[in-house]
């Protein structure tokens, strides 16, 4: 008995369990659901019903309002032919989809789902380099794009890869610069500290210090840069269906193509989680403290397990909201031209993010020196 308990309380085993619950259950499921929700919400924007045909014949043609399309799409891609065209560099062609998964999955290592209870954290690992790890991993995603396009022996794919590399490299700069202000306010890059600092209040006990309120400019720039980094519309020039067909992954078919798509949707959920963690207080429920709700002297006790449950619910709710926002942005704003993308980045976001650093520095100096 003691031996079993020893094995179960081993930090590696605990980390493994967290990985199974967070990545294999939550992230994979949300990514898959988002592939369907994208089409459902798209058809709502376009005044259509959307996918609803997949059914189970033995169960009175059960359709589940299109939910079965998730399974149908997956099964279909498994049994599709895996075509590899002539002249392809097979090794690079094969490893390119892996990078998409690496950049989409590994960032979940530092995302907290609820406030820690004692020694137990609702986070896979709380490394002190936190956000820097996220940056390191997201830049690996560029390799997926450039290797896929380069190895495909196709002119459109090469164009897509060249576009994708330039765009993702550029927006990585603004991504990094937009967060400098956040680091200045919090004095740390460790995710648990960033979130804990957002769970304090202004004006006594009323307005939470969410990143959205302390760094509004950074929020807008970070969200924009993240959309470009994930090649979501309006920044999908590397894919550009109407110009270069499917861009860097156009020679991929069957399951390898599905790998690109699933990685993209997992990355979308990851972006939503990152924006939530950095700017929307993460798991923070307004006015919910460790012991219960508290505002204007009014107090309501809440048991510990319910606090954690509420926090996880709030976190998932915020993620879904941002996924919805990303999809709505896609279906309301048309694609930017490539020169517009570069101009927006280098001539607008770059000076703006530098200005944000100066502004933050001045405000912080004023606050710290005159006790505002």
């Amino acid at each position: 008995m003691e031996l079993i308990l020893d094995i179960l309380l081993n930090p590696v085993v605990i980390a493994l369990l967290k990985i199974v619950v967070i990545v294999l259950v939550f992230v994979a499921a949300t990514g898959t659901v988002m592939t369907l929700m994208e089409r459902k919400w798209m058809s709502a924007v376009q005044d259509r019903i959307g996918p609803n045909r997949a059914n189970i014949p033995f169960l009175r043609d059960f359709r589940g309002r299109g939910a079965l399309h998730m399974a149908a799409d997956g099964l279909k891609s498994i049994f599709k032919e895996d075509t590899v065209p002539e002249g392809v560099d097979l090794v690079i062609f094969t490893i390119a989809p892996f990078f998409g998964f690496i950049s989409a999955v590994v960032i979940w290592a530092v995302i907290p789902f609820a406030a820690p209870i004692g020694d137990f954290t609702f986070q896979i690992t709380d490394v002190n380099i936190g956000i820097l790890l996220v940056f390191a991993v997201t830049s690996l995603g560029i390799y997926g794009t450039v290797l896929a396009g380069w190895s495909s022996n196709n002119k459109f794919a090469l164009l897509g890869a060249a576009r994708g590399t330039s765009q993702m490299l550029s927006y990585e700069i603004f991504l990094g610069l937009s967060l400098v202000g956040v680091f200045m306010v919090n004095g740390s890059v460790q995710v648990s500290i960033l979130v804990a600092n957002q769970n304090t209040y202004w004006f006594g006990d009323v307005i939470p210090k969410w990143g959205l309120f302390t760094q509004p400019l950074a929020f807008v720039m970070f969200f924009t840069a993240m959309l470009a980094e994930a090649k979501r519309l309006p920044f999908d020039a590397p894919e550009g269906e109407s110009e270069i067909i499917a861009g860097y992954f156009m020679e991929y078919s069957g399951m390898r193509y599905a790998a690109f798509m699933l990685a993209e949707y997992i990355a979308m959920v990851g972006i939503a989680a990152l924006v939530t963690t950095l700017f929307l207080g993460g798991y923070h429920v307004p006015w919910l403290h460790a012991e219960g709700f508290q505002i204007f002297g009014w107090f309501m006790a809440v048991p510990v397990w319910l606090v954690s449950a509420l926090q996880i619910l709030a976190f998932v709710g915020k993620i879904i909201f941002f996924c919805w926002l990303i999809i709505m942005v896609r279906w309301t704003i048309p694609r930017f031209r490539f020169d517009q993308i570069m101009e927006l980045g280098w001539k607008k976001l770059l000076p703006l993010s530098l200005a944000n650093i100066v502004l933050t520095a001045l405000v912080l100096l004023a606050v710290d020196n005159w006790n505002l």
């Binding site: 599709k80 075509t83 892996f98 700069i173 400098v180 100096l365």
Partner: protein, 119 residues
């Protein structure tokens, strides 16, 4: 202790590679194989493909890569300063301003030279 914290990161890396391997292998093992000469041609909107796919492309992409190298390295200098900003106070602000002005001068030079123009 600190090194131990990175074991889960490596495990996640394994999960990501596992996802990739699973997808690739499933497609290769379970999909049909019916190769034809036309199917194996690189796709060029239905026309027969001419020449190699590894073409030269515009030099502007290289310009962006160069600008990225310069600015990305400079951002790295910002991070330690940003984390310790409130402890350094006014002194840190003034010292960093010198670096900042040089960075902005570089940006203005780049801009006036037309390195940021796309057409």
């Amino acid at each position: 202790m600190v090194a131990e914290q990175y074991i889960p990161v490596l495990m996640l890396l394994g999960v990501a590679l596992g996802f990739g391997a699973l997808f690739t292998l499933l497609g290769i093992l379970l999909g049909p194989k019916r190769d034809t000469a036309v199917k194996k041609m690189p796709f060029e909107s239905g026309l027969p493909s001419t020449g190699s796919g590894f073409k030269r492309y515009s030099v502007r992409f290289y310009m962006v890569a160069l600008a990225f190298l310069i600015f990305d390295v400079e951002i790295i200098f910002f991070y330690p300063w940003a984390v310790k900003f409130r402890e350094f106070g006014l002194y840190g602000f003034v010292v960093m301003s010198i670096f900042f002005v040089i960075l902005v001068l570089g940006l203005v030079y780049d801009w006036r030279k037309g390195a940021l123009e796309w057409d």
